[in-house]
C-alpha cells in the first residue's frame, strides 16, 4: 500500500469521525433551550397580528423542519452546516456566516503568531539543552520550563498584565486596536501587533515550556543512536550531526506533540481572549453562551471540531513527510 492510499484511508476515516462527532453536536443542539422557530422569528411576534404570525411561524417551522423525524432533522442540520448556513445570530441580528469573518481572522492571527514565536524559541532551545545535557544551563532551562508548562495560562496572563501593563505600562491591556486610531496600513498593522504583544507573550510562555521539554527528550533519545555515532565517526561536523542527522529523526515525536498542541492552543486561546478582551472566536463563543445566542455557539463548536480533525490530517501528512518508515499497513 502506497503513501497516497494510506493518506486516503486516514482521510476517509477522519470524515467518518467527523460524522460521529457531528451527531454528538446535534444532540447538544437539540438540548439547547428555547424554540428555534421563535428564536428565528425574533421580535416579530410583538409586531404582527396573531394569525399572520401563526402562518409565518408554520412556514418557518416547515422551512427549519422541526416537525420532521430526528434523523431527517439531523441531515437537514448537517447539510446546512456543511453549506455554510450556520443560522441566524440573535445577538448581531445577522446571519452567523456574515459575522464570523473578523473574529476568525483575529483568532487565527493571534494563534499563528504565538505558534511561530513558540517554535522559533523552543526548537533551538530544546536542541541546545539536549546537546548540553546536565550542564547548569540545561538544569536552569529544565526548572524554568516545568514552571512554564505547569502554570495555568491565566495566571501568567495576570502576572504579565501586572508587570507590562500596570507597573511598566508599555503594552495595552485589551482590545485589538487603539480607540480612534487612524493611519496607513502599515501603522495599523503595527498598532494591532502592539495590542497582540501581551496575549502572544502569555500564550508563548505556556507553549514554550512543554515543547522545549519534548524537543529535548526526543533529541536525547536520538543522539544516543548508533547512526549518530557513525555520523560522528565519519568526521562530520557536530553542527551537521545535530541539525541534519539527529534533528530530522527527533522531529517525528515532536510532530505528534506539536500538532496536538496547536489544536489545544486554539482551544486555550478562549481563556486568553477572555482575559485580554481579544475579539476572536473564543470571546465570541463565550459571549454567545452568555447571550444565549446558540447559533453562534454551535458554529464556534463546529469550527473547533473541524480544526481538531484537520490537526489529525495534518499530523498524518506530516508523518509521511518526516518519517520514511511510517507504518503503511495500518
Amino acid at each position: 500500500m502506497g503513501k497516497g492510499r494510506y493518506l486516503l484511508k486516514r482521510l476517509l476515516y477522519i470524515i467518518f469521525v467527523f460524522f460521529i462527532i457531528s451527531i454528538l453536536m446535534f444532540f447538544i443542539y437539540k438540548l439547547m433551550p428555547g424554540d428555534p422557530v421563535e428564536i428565528m422569528l425574533g421580535d416579530s411576534k410583538l409586531n404582527m397580528k396573531p394569525d399572520a404570525y401563526q402562518a409565518l411561524y408554520d412556514r418557518t417551522a416547515e422551512m427549519l423542519g422541526v416537525n420532521r423525524s430526528l434523523v431527517e432533522q439531523y441531515f437537514i442540520w448537517i447539510g446546512n452546516m456543511l453549506t455554510g448556513n450556520f443560522g441566524y445570530s440573535t445577538q448581531y441580528k445577522q446571519q452567523v456566516a456574515q459575522v464570523i469573518g473578523t473574529p476568525m481572522r483575529n483568532t487565527v492571527m493571534l494563534n499563528m503568531l504565538a505558534m511561530v514565536v513558540v517554535f522559533v524559541i523552543s526548537i533551538p532551545l530544546g536542541i541546545a539543552t539536549a546537546v548540553r545535557k546536565n550542564t547548569a544551563f540545561d538544569k536552569t532551562v529544565q526548572v524554568v520550563t516545568i514552571i512554564g508548562y505547569s502554570l495555568p495560562s491565566f495566571i501568567i496572563a495576570l502576572l504579565m498584565i501586572f508587570v507590562f501593563a500596570v507597573k511598566i505600562p508599555i503594552f495595552p491591556i485589551s482590545g485589538v486596536r487603539s480607540p480612534g486610531f487612524s493611519g496607513t496600513g502599515i501603522e495599523m498593522a503595527l498598532d494591532t501587533l502592539w495590542h497582540m504583544a501581551l496575549p502572544v507573550i502569555v500564550m508563548s510562555i505556556s507553549g514554550i515550556g512543554g515543547i522545549t521539554r519534548y524537543v529535548r527528550a526526543a533529541m536525547i533519545d536520538v543522539l544516543r543512536m548508533d547512526y549518530i555515532k557513525t555520523a560522528r565517526a565519519k568526521g562530520l561536523r557536530e553542527k551537521v550531526v545535530v541539525y541534519v542527522h539527529a534533528f530530522r529523526n527527533a522531529l517525528i515525536p515532536v510532530v505528534t506533540i506539536a500538532t496536538g498542541w496547536v489544536v489545544g492552543l486554539f482551544g486555550g486561546s478562549i481563556v486568553i481572549e477572555s482575559v485580554f478582551l481579544w475579539p476572536g472566536l473564543g470571546k465570541m463563543l463565550i459571549d454567545g453562551l452568555l447571550q444565549r445566542d446558540f447559533a453562534v455557539v454551535l458554529t464556534m463548536q463546529m469550527f473547533y471540531v473541524v480544526l481538531s480533525l484537520a490537526g489529525n490530517v495534518i499530523m498524518d501528512i506530516a508523518y509521511t513527510i518526516v518519517d520514511p518508515r511510517v507504518r503503511l499497513e495500518n
Binding site: 447538544i28 433551550p33 498584565i161 500596570v166 478562549i270 481563556v271 455557539v297 473547533y304
Partner: protein, 603 residues
Amino acid sequence: MAKKKLFAGRKSTAAAAAQRMVMGGLPQEEEELMQSPLRMVVTSFVQDKVAMIGMILFVAIFLCCVILPFFFPIDLYYQDVTQSNVAPGFGMLKVPDGLQDNAAMLSAGSTFSVGIDKDGNVYEWGTFPTDKLRRIPSSSEMGKVTQISAGLDHVVAVNEDGQVFTWGNDRMGLASIPLELRSGADIKQISAGYQFSLALTEDGTLYNWGSDYLMNVSFPEGVQGNIAKFDDNTSVVMALTEDGRVVPLTSKTSSFTAVPEEIQGNAIDVALSDESAAALTSDGVVHVWGNTQKGTGQIPEEIQGHVTAITGGRYHFTAILDDGTVASWGDDTFGQTSAPSFDSAVTNASVGYYSSYAITEDGHVEGWGLKGYLMGTDAFGRDLFRRLLVGGRMTMTVGAIAVIISTIIGVTVGGISGYKGGKIDNLLMRLTEIVASVPFLPFCIILSGILGNRITEMQRIILIMFILGLLSWPGIARLVRGSVLAEREQEFVTAAKSLGVKEFGIIFRHILPNIITVIIVNATLDFATCMLTESSLSFIGFGVNEPNATWGNMLNGAQNGQVIENYWWRWVFPAIALGACTISINCVGDGLRDAIDQKSKER
C-alpha cells in the same frame, strides 16, 4: 526467618495480591539482593530531590486544604460590603503606644479605629479603606478633641468648643456639616455611620447628614428635641428619649420597629447590631428584638439584672456589668464575643463592626474581635484565606474525582482492548480516537454553559467532574492498552490461562498489578491537568460558580487592571496556591516517571 514464616501461607486472594503489589515479591532467601521493582521505584523516587520537594509541598497544601477548614469555618453565603477589599494585615487592634494607658475615648470603624487621649490628640490605626482617612486635620486646626467616632470610611470628631470636624470619605454629602454645628454647639453624642453622620446636641436635637440612599431618618411627633441618646446601624437609627422610651427614627416598618411594649418608659440604654436591637431597662435587664439569627438574642442568663451599659457591633452586643467586667454575645467568627478579663473595672466600652475596645479606670485599653485578615478580603468582604482553603478543597475534589472517573474508564477500555485484540480492540481504539478528537476546552465550556443553567449548584459541580472525567480518558486507555499488549505474552498469563482463570480475572487481577505504576504516574499527571482545566473553566465563569469557592473562580474577579494594580492580594494568593499545586504535582509526576522508566532518567 520470621519473614519466611509470615509469608509461608501465601493466600491467593486479591488482598494478598494487593499486599504483594505493595511490598513487592519479597525475596525468599535473606541473602538474595534482588530488589522488587516497586521498591526500586520508591528508592529512586526518594533520592530525586525535586520530586521529593514537590511531594512534600503538595502534601502540605493538600493537608492544609483538608484540615484547616475545620479550624477556620466559613459561611459561603456570608457577604459584608463594609469589609470589602481589605488589605492583608493584623493591625486592626494594635492600639498606638501613645494612646495606651492614656485613652479618653475610642471608636471602632469598619476596618480601622480612632481614639483620643486625655490631652485631646487623635490617633488612627488599622487598615484604611481610603487614603483620605490619613489626612487628619492638624491639631492646630482642631484644638483639643473631646469626642470622636469612626464609620465605614470616614471619621467625625468634636473639639472642646463644640466644633464638628470630619475627614475620610467626603462624597455623598459627608463633608457638608450642618451650619448649626459648624460654629460650635453643645454636642452630647456624635456618630459616623455607614455613609452618613449623626450628631446629638445637649438640648436633645439630632442632626444627620450624608447619604440618604440607604437610610432615611424621620422623626415621629415629639421626639426631636427630646432625645437623650441614640445608636445607628446601616439601615436605622434608634433613639432613646429623655422619658425612657425607645423610638426607631424611621417611617418604614421593619423588625426594628417592633419595640417590646414592656420596656417603654423604662429604658436607660439602647444599642443596635446590624440585624437586631437591644435595650437596657433600669433594672439591669437586656431586651433584644429584631432578627436574632446570628446569636444576638442569646443573652447570657447570668448577666441579666447586672448590666449597666450596652453597645452593639455588626453581629454582636457587648455589655458592661455592675462589677466592672464585660460580657459579649452574638456572632463569634472573628472572636468578637471572646472578651478578655481586666485588671481593673471597665468604665467605657466601644464596639463597632467586628471590633470591641474597653477602657478601664486607669485608662488602660484592651481590644478584642477582628484583628485583621491574613490574606485580605475580596470585593464582597469575604475572608480570602478561608475561601482559599475551601477553594483548594473544592479544586482538588473536582480534580480527584475527574481523574478517578477517567482512570476507571481508561483502564477498563485499555485493558479489554489490549487483552482481547482483534475486532474489539479496533472498535474500542476508534472510540478512543473519537473522544480524543473532541476539542476539549470548547466542549467543556459549551456543555457546562448549556446544561449548567437548569440544575442546582451541586449538580453542576458533579456535571463538571463528569465532563472532565469523560473527556480525558483516551490518554490513559492508550497507555494501558500498550502495557497490556506487552504483558499478555508473559508466562504468568499463560499459566493463569491454563489454570482456567477467567479472562476478566486475568486482565484485572494478574496483568493490572504489573502495570499499576504506569497508571499511577498517568493519574498523577492527569490530576494536575484536571485541576488546571477546572480552574480555567471556573476562571472564565463556566465551572464552579459563586458562592462556592475554587481557586479558579477566586481569580475571576481579578480580571481587570484596576484590581490587579490596587488589590494585589486578591489575585496573588490564589495564583500562588494554584501555581504551587500544579508545579508540585508535575514535579512528582516527572519524578515518578523517571523512577519507573530508568531510561528516561538518562535524558
